[in-house]
């Protein structure tokens, strides 16, 4: 360990070095079954209950490719503007590890199904960066090990390990970028924006749950630095265990400052795997291997080649939804939003939710207002993402409709929404249970109107004298008396009727 500072100030890093990134994203497909067997592909479950001879690597068992997984892989490739291989194979990647039942991973190697694509990524200030995609290929996930004994349940110091193969064989798509260079100080932001864009895209395509917290989207960040003016890439490190979008940015930034400190001190970077530590935002070296691994790849003899026909690829191309950012642009035009209004929508993560609410029959402005304001505040208060709130766009549309028809006031509507968020049921159930219906019974309202008019005779006279706008004070009194459960428009009509001004 050197005695100099372990990290360099970020401003100095970007002054002296150009960062180069390479991002490898593993996506678990949300197919019904695993990649090579008919076991259910679902998160969790009692250990070793989603297993069969194939995914347990039992003697004699053979893989058969999940056709839907191949379709998803091709669709992802198309969405990433890749070429689709006309002919490709699976290979075996041979290495021993207890969480891998066959001790080889069935993975594509030198013949990926999709290659040479790009993804246009929009940064926070609207700048668009094109990230080139090297390849997207199919492979299978490993099982999970639980380390028992020792202090932390981690691998070091454990006394033994317990293996659950429910996840073994779950279909993965590995998406690898080409080197991303020339981003300067924005490199960490570009990394986050890329993974965000990829996540949005995959979600829109409905091919994966893309939950970083559950591991259905995992990012490995390769970082290297080259001194300004140099023309060869520096030695890279690969940081794993990056489990959130924010961590992607932090991990890249941390590695940049760490590399720079080592390089500035005359040291050299060791090519190694590092693990991101969520708690303090640092990375730590993994155990180094004594020898370089030799995976002894060779074509998987148990699986025949995949040769997608032109027609098949064209059919799949037709199923690619509008890209999220294109959709945003269209929504801005359709809804006539200012850049600022769009940014509010995007930054709160409300675009899809608003669109879905509009699809469910609400007016765009009402939907936007609910999600960007009241519900966004609710999400903040509950420390959750907008999309994870316990209310659906259809429910929001229902509330908006009830306000529109006068059955709810705005104030009541907020109470209804609170009830839904608290798990009391759908809007109609909450209204029923909490008794929040607007008082629409005219005789009950008339009593309140008469009372209010009697209490303010001068105002009543003004209205009679033709100053109709003075009715507002009486409306307010009635609303107060009915605890907001009255339809203000109807109250106004009744007042005018009563004083004979109608």
């Amino acid at each position: 360990m050197t005695t100099t500072a372990e990290l360099m100030d970020y401003a100095e890093v970007v002054e002296r070095y150009d960062p180069v990134l390479g991002l490898e994203v593993h996506v678990e497909l949300s197919t019904k079954t695993k990649m090579f067997c008919g076991c259910p592909n679902s998160f969790g479950g009692d250990p070793n209950t989603h297993v069969c001879p194939v995914c347990l690597g039992m003697p004699g068992a053979l893989p058969v490719v999940n056709g839907t997984a191949v379709e998803s892989a091709i669709r992802i490739g198309l969405a990433l503007n890749c070429d689709i291989a006309q002919w490709c194979r699976f290979a075996r990647k041979n290495y021993f590890y207890p969480d891998m039942p066959k001790n080889f991973q069935t993975s594509q190697y030198d013949e990926p199904i999709a290659f040479d694509g790009h993804l246009d990524v929009v940064l926070d200030d609207g700048e668009v960066v094109r990230v080139d995609i090297e390849r997207a290929h199919m492979e299978e996930d490993t099982g999970k090990s639980l380390h028992v004994g020792g202090a932390t349940g981690r691998i070091h110091g454990a006394e033994h390990s317990l293996l659950d193969y429910n996840r073994a064989g779950v279909p993965l798509i590995e998406i690898v970028t080409k080197p991303i260079a020339g981003m300067g100080e924005r490199a960490p932001e570009v990394a986050r924006a890329y993974v965000t864009a990829l996540r949005d895209l995959l979600r829109a395509m409905d091919v994966s749950d893309v939950r970083m917290d559950q591991g259905s989207l995992r990012c490995d960040a390769n970082v290297s630095l080259m001194a300004k003016g140099a023309n060869e890439f520096g030695t890279r490190t690969e940081t794993k265990n990056v489990n959130s979008l924010r961590s992607v940015e932090r991990a890249v930034r941390y590695e940049m400052t760490r590399h720079a400190a080592v390089l500035a001190d005359g040291g050299s970077i060791k090519q190694e795997t590092r693990h991101f530590q969520e708690a303090d935002g640092t990375t730590a070296a993994g155990r180094t291997k004594e020898t370089a691994e030799d995976y002894r790849y060779f074509p998987e003899p148990d699986l025949v080649p995949i040769a997608p026909t032109r027609e098949w690829v064209d059919q799949l191309r037709a199923t690619i939804p509008e890209m999220p950012w294109q959709r945003r642009k269209r929504i801005q035009d359709d809804w006539n939003l200012t850049d600022e209004e769009l940014r509010d929508l995007v930054n709160t993560g409300a675009v899809d939710l608003v669109a879905a609410t509009v699809d469910a029959g609400a007016a765009q402005a009402d939907a936007r207002s609910w999600w960007v304001q009241y519900l966004n505040q609710a999400a903040t208060a509950r420390e959750t993402e907008l999309a994870d709130l316990a209310i659906t766009p259809a429910e929001v549309a229902r509330v908006i409709a009830l306000v529109g028809s006068g059955e709810l006031t705005h104030k009541l509507a907020r109470q209804v929404v609170d009830g839904v968020l608290d798990g009391e049921g759908d809007p109609d159930q909450v209204i029923e249970a909490r008794g929040l219906k607007v008082v629409s019974d005219d005789s009950a309202l008339l009593a309140a109107v008469d009372e209010a008019l009697a209490a303010q005779p001068d105002v009543a006279d003004k209205i009679r004298g033709g100053k109709v706008q003075a009715a507002g004070a009486i409306v307010g009194a009635v609303m107060k008396a009915t605890k907001g459960q009255a339809d203000a428009a109807r109250v106004r009509e009744l007042i005018l009727e009563r004083v004979g001004a109608a």
């Binding site: 001879p53 347990l56 690597g57 039992m58 003697p59 004699g60 068992a61 053979l62 893989p63 058969v64 490719v65 075996r92 041979n94 021993f96 207890p98 039942p101 066959k102 001790n103 080889f104 006394e159 390990s161 293996l163 030799d294 002894r296 790849y297 060779f298 003899p301 148990d302 699986l303 025949v304």
Partner: protein
């Protein structure tokens, strides 16, 4: 009742289906024969008397109830090579590493046999993980050739071939990666067929070399093999390399051939599969067989397959490479042997110690060879080049089959050698497969049919017949014609035995 073991499968089926004998009687006769002779022959690693009798009784009950037999072989018992999984019945692959393992599932071949009402007498001995040509690489001791108990029964499926020659079973299943059905058939004077690759499902066949392995039928007659082949063949969605096409009418082809007319059939003699290294008696037997085919009306021409000479080398790179990967799963984590799990060793150490303990010398040698051939830096020179040779051999076959309907050669260059004779000389052992390997590399169909006894040592010789992929029926037509003309060979063993 002991005559029952002398009958062919077709004869037994007829007697069972017409009610002359019961399937249980037939099965019991074979179990009795096993009890009497298997101490000497050691064809079986595991005898499942209860399971076999249960299946037989179910067939009998069916027939007694007036139902038609579920298959042409319903009730005819069989010996199953211990490389195919059997649910709840031990499956060891001749390896210590799988001692005591009870598979939780049936191989597709096993399932088809059950569905066809074929009682499985037990699991037969084999070279460990099917690697060998003598069955001496079994962790459970060698099998002995019924023709001469001091000699090898061939391998890897020596248990299956010996069980037929010793009349312990009328039918058997083998697997053939480089000749493991045909070479044992040749040296025991029985019939063995390697079907077209993809013709019989590999699901549940414990893989040695995935792109070469193929399960197939073994019998004492060509017709018996055909009947069994029809039971086990056909598309299986559990095997991605299984061919989705109708199985040709094999038993019909055998019956047609048995009429002894090969007019219009063109037979090619492979020039490269003879000469140096071939025993004189084997070559003379082969020449006689070719003459016999001509007499039957076949047109015989010599053809050249110039790359067959490289087949052995390509095979001894491809098969070990695939096996090094296929056998990686035997790591002591999920099933099978585990040693040194005393708390002082890591998982990695337990893996290494278990594999060292659980694998025999030949398996280790091939795993090392394959690991080397696939290593970065060596891949192109070894594995990659071997796969190119495979292309050339496939082209040789294609060119030859433009000229002829079937190709013929000796099945093996020599008659069965003495146990222990070649155990320490891997290269000499590998030469046994020199004639059989090309068909595995190209994936086409091939048969070994008894071709009499060598005139110099009185030991069995096999005639190999090779046909294009999906033309397995040609093997049966030509094989049955030759068999009928030449007359039974195995009967001579019966005479020998009776004379003792």
């Amino acid at each position: 009742m002991s005559d029952l073991t002398r009958l062919t499968a077709a004869e037994l089926a007829e007697k069972i289906h017409t009610g002359e004998v019961t399937a249980a009687e037939v099965t019991q006769a074979h179990l009795d024969r096993i009890a009497a002779v298997d101490g000497d022959v050691h064809a079986f690693l595991h005898v499942d008397a209860e399971g076999a009798l249960e299946t037989a009784r179910a067939v009998d009950a069916d027939l007694a109830a007036g139902r038609a037999p579920v298959s042409p072989l319903a009730g005819v018992p069989l010996a199953l090579k211990d490389v195919l999984t059997t649910r709840g019945v031990p499956t060891t692959c001749g390896s210590k590493t799988l001692e005591g393992w009870l598979p939780p599932y049936d191989a597709t071949v096993t399932r088809r046999l059950r569905e066809a009402g074929v009682p499985v007498l037990g699991k037969t001995n084999m070279d460990e993980f099917a690697m060998g040509s003598s069955t001496e690489n079994s962790a459970y001791g060698p099998t002995h050739n019924p023709w001469d108990l001091d000699r090898i029964p061939g391998g890897s499926g020596g248990g299956s071939s010996a069980s037929l020659a010793a009349y312990e079973a009328p039918l058997a299943i083998g697997t053939d990666t480089g000749g493991s059905i045909r070479q044992p058939a040749a040296v025991t004077a029985t019939v063995g067929v390697k079907p077209t690759y993809g013709g019989v499902s590999r699901y549940g066949l414990v893989a040695f070399s995935s792109s070469l392995d193929q399960a197939g039928p073994c019998g004492r007659t060509v017709l018996d093999a055909a009947l069994l082949h029809e039971v086990i063949a056909g598309h299986d969605p559990m095997d991605a390399t299984s061919i989705d096409a109708p199985v040709p009418a094999l038993a019909d082809a055998a019956r047609e051939g048995a009429r002894g007319d090969l007019n219009g059939v063109k037979v090619g003699v492979v020039r490269e599969l003879s000469g140096d290294g071939y025993q004189g008696g084997v070559l003379r037997s082969f020449d006689a067989a070719v003459a016999q085919l001509k007499e039957l009306g076949a047109e015989v021409v010599e053809v050249s397959c110039p790359h067959f000479g490289y087949a052995l080398s390509a095979y001894y790179l491809i098969a070990p490479s695939e096996c090094s990967s296929n056998l990686a799963r035997f790591d002591a984590m999920r099933y099978g042997l585990r040693v040194a799990d005393d708390g002082s060793h890591s998982a990695e150490e337990v893996m290494s110690l278990t594999r060292e303990e659980g694998f025999g010398a030949e398996v280790k040698r091939r795993v090392m060879l394959g690991t080397y051939a696939l290593s970065s830096g060596y891949y192109d020179a070894y594995y990659g080049s071997a796969q190119k040779v495979r292309t050339l051999i496939t082209r040789d076959f294609a060119a030859a089959f433009e000229q002829v309907d079937v190709l013929v050669s000796p099945t093996t260059p020599v008659t069965p050698f003495k146990l222990g004779e070649k155990v320490d000389d891997p290269l000499a052992m590998y030469l046994n497969d020199i004639c059989s390997i090309p068909a595995n590399l190209a994936g086409n169909a091939a048969m070994s049919v008894p071709s009499g006894l060598s005139d110099e040592d009185g030991l069995p010789v096999g005639l190999q017949i090779m046909a294009p992929a999906l033309a397995d029926d040609r093997l049966y037509r030509v094989g049955a014609a030759y068999e009928a003309a030449r007359g039974p060979v195995l009967d001579k063993l019966g005479e020998l035995e009776a004379a003792k």
